[in-house]
Amino acid sequence: MHGSLNMIGYGLAAIGSAIGVGMIFAAYINGVARQPEAQRILQPIALLGFALAEALAILGLVFAFVVGV
C-alpha cells in the first residue's frame, strides 16, 4: 500500500480546524439572525476568526508536503 504518513497526519489535524471554523460561522449566523443590523460589525470579526482558525490547518498542509521522508 503506497502513500505517506504525512497525509494521514494532515487529515487528522484538519478535523479540529474544521470544527472550529464551523463554530465561528455558526456564531456569526446566530448573531446576524438575532439582529440583522449587526452584520456590518460582525463580518470583520468573523473573517478574522476564520483566518486564525484556518491557519493551523494550512500549516498542517504545508508541513505535510515539506517534511519529506
Binding site: 473573517l47 483566518a51 486564525l52 494550512i58 500549516l59
Partner: protein
C-alpha cells in the same frame, strides 16, 4: 513553476506527485546565488507589483470627478475600505489617521502579490517563499514594538506581558507565557499564515493539474481518462477557492497589523 509545463516524471507508469522543490524557479541573474541572493523571478514580481500599484493609483485619480467613473470608484473603494473597516473600526477615531498610509500600502502590496499567483504567465504568489513573508512581518514586528516603546517608554515591556488584575502568585507562570505568546509567536504566525496559505493554494492547483495530466495521458483505461477530465473541473473549483483565500489573507494580514499596533498603543488601558 515553469509557466508552460507541469512537472511530470514518467516512471514506468507510477504517479510522481509534485514536491516543494518543484516550486523553485531558476534565477534570472544568478548573483551570488549560492548564498541565496540570486535575482530571480520572485524579486522581479515584487518590484513589478510596486510599479503596478503606483501606476494604477496615479492614473485612477488623475482627473477626479465628483461623480466618479469606474476606475476612480474602484480605487476610492479600496482606499476607503482600508481606511474605514481596517483603520477606523480597529484603531479608534483618535489615533488611526497616522497609520492609514501604512495599512493601505500593506493591504495593496500583499493583495497584488497574492493575485500574481492566479495570473497564468506570472504564476507565483510572491509570499509563497518564506523569506519575503518573514521580511514584511519583521517590518511590522519592529513597528509595533517601536510604537509601544515610543509611547510608553521602556515600561512598555512590562505593560505588554503583565496583565492587570492578576494575583501575584500566578505571575511566574503567566509572564513567560505572555512573553512567548506576544513577542515570539506573533511574528511567526503573522508571517507563516501568509506563506502557508499561498503555498498551499499553489500546491493544490499544481497537484490537481499534474494529476489530471497523468490520468489523461498516461493511463489507457477510459474510465481513468474520464476521471482526469473531472479532476480538471475540480481544479477550476480549487482555483476559485485559491482566489478567495488570496484576497482574504491580504485582508487578514492588514487587520492583524492594525490590531497589533492598536494593542501597543493601548498597552496601559486594560
Amino acid at each position: 513553476m515553469t509557466a508552460f509545463a507541469l512537472p511530470m516524471a514518467s516512471n514506468d507508469g507510477a504517479f510522481i506527485p509534485p514536491t516543494i522543490s518543484d516550486t523553485h524557479v531558476p534565477d534570472i541573474l544568478p548573483w551570488m546565488a549560492e548564498y541565496g541572493t540570486g535575482f530571480g523571478k520572485q524579486m522581479l514580481l515584487v518590484i513589478l507589483s510596486v510599479v503596478l500599484i503606483t501606476w494604477f493609483f496615479t492614473v485612477a485619480i488623475r482627473k477626479p470627478k465628483l461623480v466618479p467613473g469606474r476606475v476612480q470608484f474602484f480605487a476610492e473603494g479600496v482606499y476607503s475600505f482600508t481606511r474605514n473597516t481596517v483603520g477606523r473600526d480597529i484603531m479608534g477615531e483618535k489615533n488611526f489617521r497616522p497609520w492609514v498610509p501604512l495599512l493601505f500600502a500593506v493591504f495593496t502590496f500583499v493583495l497584488l502579490n497574492n493575485l500574481f499567483g492566479a495570473i497564468p504567465f506570472l504564476q507565483i504568489p510572491s509570499f509563497s517563499h518564506a523569506g519575503s513573508a518573514y521580511a514584511i512581518a519583521a517590518i511590522i514586528y519592529f513597528t509595533w514594538i517601536g510604537v509601544g516603546v515610543q509611547k510608553h517608554g521602556i515600561r512598555y515591556f512590562k505593560l505588554a506581558v503583565v496583565p492587570t488584575g492578576v494575583p501575584g502568585w500566578i505571575l511566574p507562570l503567566l509572564v513567560p507565557l505572555e512573553i512567548i505568546s506576544n513577542f515570539i509567536v506573533r511574528p511567526l504566525t503573522h508571517s507563516l499564515r501568509l506563506m502557508a496559505t499561498m503555498l498551499a493554494g499553489h500546491m493544490i492547483v499544481v497537484l490537481a493539474g499534474s494529476g489530471a495530466a497523468y490520468l489523461i495521458t498516461q493511463q489507457d483505461n477510459i474510465l481513468l481518462n474520464a476521471t482526469g477530465v473531472a479532476v480538471i473541473a475540480g481544479s477550476v473549483a480549487m482555483y476559485g477557492l485559491e482566489l478567495l483565500i488570496m484576497i482574504l489573507q491580504a485582508f487578514v494580514f492588514t487587520l492583524l497589523t492594525a490590531i497589533y499596533i492598536q494593542g501597543s498603543l493601548d498597552a496601559d488601558a486594560h
